[in-house]
Amino acid sequence: MPIHDQSYRRYTGVREAPGTAWLVITVTGIRTALSKKLFLGVMLFAWAQFLVRAVIFYLSANFPNLDILAPSVETFRQFLEMQELFVLIVTVYVGSGLIANDRRSNALQIYLSKPLSRAEYVAGKLGILLFFLLMVTLLPAMALLFVQMMFSGSLTFVRENLFLIPAITLYALVEVLLASFTMLALSSLSTSARFTAILYFGAIVFTGALFTILRGITSSTALAWLSFRANLEQIGDVIFRLQPRFDSSWLLSVLVVAALIGLSIVVLERRVRGVEVVT
């Protein structure tokens, strides 16, 4: 039987130096996710709150009798808190299959036989989640600040609350990094995206429920650090210079978040390998 086509020829073009493959993974992942109409709809819907708030800013800026609607630091804090729903949806939708699907289809050995390190692979996958999560947190929050400035026609609010720019950035990063690392770690533990999604969702609901029950029993919020979400809320309050809402130390929440990210990195280091060795 003859060979189908003898057109194979040696490549004489340029090659990128090793170290840029993570960008290929990220860009391809973003393109693949955006090709799904349902996901595109979710991403657009995630900006609904921004539109509503923008209208409110416009009304408060142009109708003096509506100055009750004028933005404050709490407005931006609340905005990010309400976006948490979309953070959850995007994390589960995009993140659950990022590594699980590769493990199911034995793609890790393909990836790691190319000139990219395990860290680059994880960075590429992390890039996909970070991109979409920042699109529903940092970007609309910053855009909202910009809209406030434009509608009010002055820099007074921004100048008086200049810390809002680093506060929004920092809070969005903490929230997004925690969600991304934990989801990727869970995804690396399974070969089923659905199971990973359930596990992640379950972890959030379970820790929240546990905290609520203990809060009821102890009549105290000192155990807020047990809840995934409560830790973020506590850290958020501190970042936005508001009174922390729980009795537990915000430093403990920072430690818990750092530990979760650290644990996720350890899990990823152990699970992302070209070959699975069972001893």
Partner: protein
């Protein structure tokens, strides 16, 4: 007249006293071997350590001891540079989910450092080359086993590697597909100048595609060399069919130092030493009242080499 100077070619892969341990089990035991340029077969029964060797060379597993060089580069210090010049066709199915063949091969090309436009162009070329031109826009999940083997070869080739690791390249293929795959492998080695290491437990596959062979057994190198030389090294081989008690005849031959192996049919393959001949066979047969119905000199096969190397009965 001066004889032409013969210089040993620089090996493309070189292992020095490499040991790979999985828990308490040694998958590779103090292996030292050099793979010269060209097509080299890596033979061995399942569990011999062939795949482990390839995975160690790719950097998937770290050796407990020893050093490895690929294309003159140290695997421990330059794994990424090596992998940029290397193609790997794994034994098990592997693909990126939800991609068609063109997207998948293009993506692999980009991961290997090719610009997107070049990767796309080469993806089309390589897919035609491996015989998937017509099916290149189909999702890989819908491919048959044979097509999946071809797509694995395509992804290993897209960035034009200098060295290809093919791990059981004809696994699960039908006879026609297998012949086509072997044609491709031979073409790559002979006409396209790609160095190959073909890991297989199928002797005909290796014999059809490679000039040299490394035989592994229980994590160690059992034998190595050019296939022609290894066959030559074998003693004289005769095919014999007898009438009489086979067991008695076999025992008598072995007492004379003649090795016997039965084949699938009722033919025995007898391996004689240099100072023995057919006369000795007839002598043994006559002493035990056994009729020799058929006697024919035979050529040693790779199977003989393999069986001898791994001490198979």
């Amino acid at each position: 007249m001066t004889a032409p100077l013969v210089v040993d070619p620089e090996p493309v892969v070189h292992l020095e006293q490499v040991t790979v341990r999985y828990g308490t089990q040694d998958a590779l035991r103090d292996v030292s071997v050099a793979f010269p340029p060209g097509a080299v077969g890596l033979l061995g029964p399942n569990g011999a350590g062939k795949s482990t060797m390839l995975k160690a060379l790719l950097g998937f597993v770290k050796p407990t001891t020893g050093r490895m060089h690929v294309l003159g580069l140290d695997v421990a210090s330059s794994p990424l540079t090596i992998r940029a010049r290397l193609g790997y066709m794994p034994e098990s199915d592997g693909h990126i989910p939800d991609m068609n063949a063109v997207s998948f091969v293009t993506y692999c090309g980009q991961l290997a450092g090719l610009p997107r436009s070049d990767a796309m162009q080469r993806a089309h070329e390589v897919l035609y080359y491996v015989g998937l031109g017509e099916a290149r826009y189909r999702k890989i999940e819908t491919y048959s086993t044979g097509m999946k083997q071809r797509i694995k070869l395509a992804q290993a080739l897209v960035h034009d590697p200098d060295l290809l690791f093919l791990d059981e390249p004809t696994n699960g293929m039908d006879p026609k597909g297998r012949a086509e795959m072997l044609d491709l492998v031979t073409d790559l080695a002979t006409r396209k100048g790609v160095n190959l290491i073909v890991s297989s437990h199928l002797l005909p596959d290796v014999e059809a595609t490679c000039d040299r062979v490394v035989v592994m057994h229980q994590g160690a190198i059992a034998t190595q060399g050019s296939i022609a030389e290894l066959k030559e090294r074998r003693r004289q081989v005769y095919e014999v069919r007898i009438k009489g008690d086979v067991e008695t005849f076999t025992q008598a031959l072995e007492a004379e130092g003649i090795e016997c192996r039965s084949t699938d049919e009722d033919v025995m393959r007898l391996y004689l030493t240099a100072d023995q001949g057919p006369r000795d066979l007839f002598g043994v047969a006559a002493r035990h009242q056994i009729q020799v119905r058929h006697l024919r000199p035979s050529v040693p096969t790779l199977e003989d080499v393999f069986a001898e190397a791994i001490g198979e009965e």
